[in-house]
């Protein structure tokens, strides 16, 4: 099923119980993608060639230390940055620039401070030319999905960090992308809020079956969310190990097997980094 169909289907039956609106994600083929930044002090290699296949509807977490090029990889997949070598295929199409089938979510939420919550969520729909009435209805639906009904008229500065990320998720979901690219979206949140958002994200994902690529430097977060965890080395980044997580969902951070998996992955990550600098963050 192509994404084009997905989009029009949603628009036609915006009120139906297929409320979450999608037939699931698309596959991604990342072939030999690398990135070298040209800087004043010479070229900086951010990402070693990466090969990665992501299945439609899969939840993949990319784990690695800060600055290892994971975010660069997401930007390249989003089409906001060009790869130095290699190519990205989204479903059957080559990625050439940004597209609403792949939406990137940032750590800073990147909500527009000049718009209220309602109009932030409507922003992407407005670009697509969705009529105003429909935009409103869709915005309301996704606001409900992230449990923020009643905040339509609030401005960004009136929301907490967790609420901002919820709005950002609703804003992304409103345009019904096939792929969610999440760049440490919960990195700046307190542990309690983060756990709650994990659960919400997991339930949104399991009802929409979108493809999710989730970047984090938190091992437990990676294990709690991912079908697969890819461990990156420090800059220049490359994938050093891959773990398949077969734990049942919904997962609890207190689950013993989850803690065991995390410990194992942390060892690998520590070897890759060559020191213990992650300990404090994941302890």
């Amino acid at each position: 099923m192509s994404h084009q169909v997905t989009l029009s289907e949603t628009r036609n039956e915006s009120g139906s119980d297929r409320g979450t609106g999608s037939f699931g994600g698309i596959s991604l083929q990342i072939e030999n993608v690398s990135k070298v930044f040209a800087g004043r002090a010479g070229n900086v290699e951010a990402l070693r060639p990466v090969n990665l296949n992501v299945e439609a509807g899969e939840f993949v977490t990319l784990l690695g230390p800060s600055g290892c090029g994971k975010s660069t990889l997401l930007s390249i997949i989003a089409g906001l940055e060009t790869a130095t070598t290699g190519s990205v295929m989204a479903d059957t199409r080559k990625v050439q620039g940004p597209g609403t089938d792949r939406v990137l979510l940032f750590q800073e939420a990147a909500l527009f401070p000049w718009l209220d919550v309602q109009h932030n969520i409507e922003f992407g729909l407005r670009q697509l030319g969705t009529p105003a009435g429909e935009r409103r209805a869709l915005a309301r639906r996704f606001l409900e999905m992230v449990h923020l009904q009643g905040f339509e008229r609030s401005y960004v500065h009136q929301l907490s960090g967790g609420m901002r990320q919820r709005v950002a998720i609703a804003r992304a979901l409103a345009i019904n992308p096939a792929v969610l690219l999440m760049d440490e979206p919960f990195g700046a949140l307190d542990a309690l809020t983060r756990d709650r958002l994990h659960a919400e994200l997991e339930s949104i994902w399991s009802s929409t079956r979108k493809t999710v690529l989730f970047v984090t430097h938190n091992v437990r977060e990676a294990v709690a969310l991912g079908d697969r965890v890819l461990v990156f080395s420090p800059r220049p980044g490359r994938i050093v190990r891959e773990f398949r997580i077969n734990l049942p969902r919904p997962r609890s951070l207190e689950d013993h097997s989850l803690v065991d998996e995390s410990a194992e992955i942390l060892t690998v990550l520590r070897d890759a980094i060559g020191n213990d600098e992650l300990e404090a963050e994941n302890g």
Binding site: L80, F112, W114
Partner: protein, 267 residues
Amino acid sequence: MAKAIDIFTPRVSRASLTPWLRRILFYAALFILWQVIALSGIWPDYLFPGPFAVLSAIIAGFGSGLYLQAIGVSLSRLAIGYGISLVVGLVLGLLIGRNRILEETVGSLILGLQALPSVCWLPLAILWLGLSEQAIIFVVIMGALFSITLGVDAGVKNTNPIYLKAARNMGARNVALYAQVILPAALPAIINGLKQGWTFAWRSLMAGELIFFTLSLGNLLQTGRDLNDASQVMSVMVVIIIIGVAIDVLIFGPIERSVRERWGLNR
């Protein structure tokens, strides 16, 4: 305990009242001092009129309809000149802010021209356009244009790039990107430029009008001098101050406040 409350409660209301009280007392004292000096006879009445003479000049000026007419002429020049500056400045600022080559060339020129007081354009404007409406509007434009341009430019350049990334990712392109993201994101800085542009426009308008013969606020100042009538000069000055403060308070104040509130910049 009770004492602590006693000290605390009145302080809240006093804090909001005293600035006004002080202000009123200050102006009352100033008024009395002015009147005393005027009555002392150090200078003749026609050079240093008292506050009541100025007040009656204001009343007479408005009564004859002369001041209203002059205000109309001056404000319409201001509106035309400022309006043109606004449109050109927005476009120019956007172009410079988004294009490196324009920034390095046109941007540097505008920075240089900004250093030139706009009244300095007046002789040239009169040579080119004569003692005409166009000449004075030209000077007003030169007063406001560069401030507005530089304000827009600064706003565009300081916009968090993440807004642009997010917007492009959600399908915003070309005109929509400019109208719905780049401009609103730059709004706080743009408003600063607009405010500065307005003060410069107002000043250059008054300076320019001094040498024009048609009725206007600046021209009223000049005729007051010609008639040796200091009370008219002072009364027009008061009118100019009031208009300036009114535009600041009634137009730019609310705009700025609403933007700051929206963005949460007040904390």
